[in-house]
Symmetry: C2
Subunit: 259 residues, 2 copies
């Protein structure tokens, strides 16, 4: 299957513009799976929870959802995108996976970063894996990378491709994702953003460097510090082979009774 990532530079709050920008960029592209950044259509730096609520959508409602649903049909592909999810008076930093004629899958970010804690509620979904065509897909968002338990949990649940919508501002994640791939023998697909936001008194510069990494740690595709799209053929079954050597497996060799 063809896995793709799109790295954008959204204008804060300009949802229709940001989605139009995406649709233009991928118009001629072909893929089976597309991972988009965290909060890709709204931008990141909400002034407060009230503003986030005003830009948030209820699950499976709103302009972004309808556009992504249509996109998934047009491309006959699985789309995974980050969005602010309104649940009553709470907002979650969520990601939704949409594919034609499939049940949608929701993930709410479990490890919130910095001032996100003033805006979002901690995720309640936990980590889960779902089947899409020949692939078992897991989702984590941005700062979840820092916690080895997140990718580990998804891999132990059978996840073959860990899709990772992100808005990274610190430098370490792109290389750390090689470790996440290696320690679990899974594909990872990090879709980050670029550009700057300066809304709350602290300037945020997003680092780009989105990457798709193979179960053997090889960086199969990557973007730089500009907007961009990249796609690569992946074989999810390769992630079922947990062998490091003929005598070692990253799961079989675990000794959980000592952890």
């Amino acid at each position: 299957m063809i896995a793709a990532i799109f790295q954008n530079n959204p204008i804060f709050g300009a949802i229709e513009n940001n989605i139009s920008d995406l649709l233009g960029a991928i118009k001629s592209k072909d893929f089976d799976l597309l991972v988009l950044p965290e909060l890709f259509a709204t931008g990141y730096q909400f002034l407060d929870k009230t503003e986030a609520l005003s830009l948030a959508d209820e699950l499976e409602h709103g302009y972004t959802f309808e556009a992504m649903k249509q996109l998934s049909h047009e491309k006959n592909a699985l789309i995974i995108y980050g969005f602010p999810q309104r649940v009553g008076n709470e907002v979650f930093n969520s990601a939704l996976a949409i594919a034609p004629n499939e049940k949608n899958h929701l993930y709410q970010k479990m490890h919130l970063f910095d001032t996100e804690k003033n805006i979002f509620s901690p995720g309640k979904t936990g980590f889960s894996v779902f089947q899409y065509r020949d692939a078992k897909i897991g989702i984590m968002i941005c700062f979840d990378w820092r916690f080895p338990e997140a990718a580990r949990k998804l891999a132990l649940l059978g996840g073959q491709i860990i899709c990772h919508p992100s808005n990274l501002v610190m430098p370490h994640c792109p290389d750390a994702m090689i470790t996440r791939a290696l320690e679990n023998c899974v594909y990872t697909a990090t879709a980050n953003r670029v550009g700057e936001e300066y809304r709350t008194g602290s300037r945020l510069k997003f680092i780009g460097k989105s990457r798709i990494i193979a179960p053997n740690g090889e960086v199969l595709a990557e973007l730089g510090t500009e907007k961009g799209f990249v796609a690569v053929v992946v074989d999810p079954k390769l992630a079922d082979n947990k062998e490091v050597t003929s005598r070692n497996g990253v799961f079989d060799d675990r000794r959980p009774e000592f952890y």
Copy 2:
């Protein structure tokens, strides 16, 4: 305190020679903690368990132990070294921590690599942390790096400096140790070896690249692909600060009920 690593190129089976080589190289060096490679005095590639037993020592016995004990007294320092440990008819791939007038601490490798499984018994010690002067020390050996649970366990037990005797032949560990440091906010000190061994029909080339890494992921000291020694001042208390931002801690933000 001054933490040091020594990267050697032992001659297989030439224990006295290999120890003499170490002692010569560090004669004028000053340190409080010295980490030596896995199986540093014997070499790595045992033909079979019988050969390993013939070169193994019982705990706190043998030429290597006596030499390391004397070294720890001469340098007034903690020495952590890898050795084949004989227990009855079993051999463990072990590391011992020796300091003057302190209880010694043993670690037996919990995740054996490749043909080590034909030679060594899987470790029974589990992971533990001990106090040395102002530092809390944890030990893991080589391939343990691939399992995030090893460093995580040592960090959750309070370990500030993870000492990591190694005989690395694959390329990924030196960079992955940055992830291990970052995800746990701990120091790591990997002491690897260099050179080649060609005893069992498969040529092993050891990669060197020993490193001391800070809790913020910075590589404080590193060696290349030759023999060498490097030391750096570390402050173990820095590893007690688990903050990523003022609102994030790598331990406080964990959500173990979802892992």
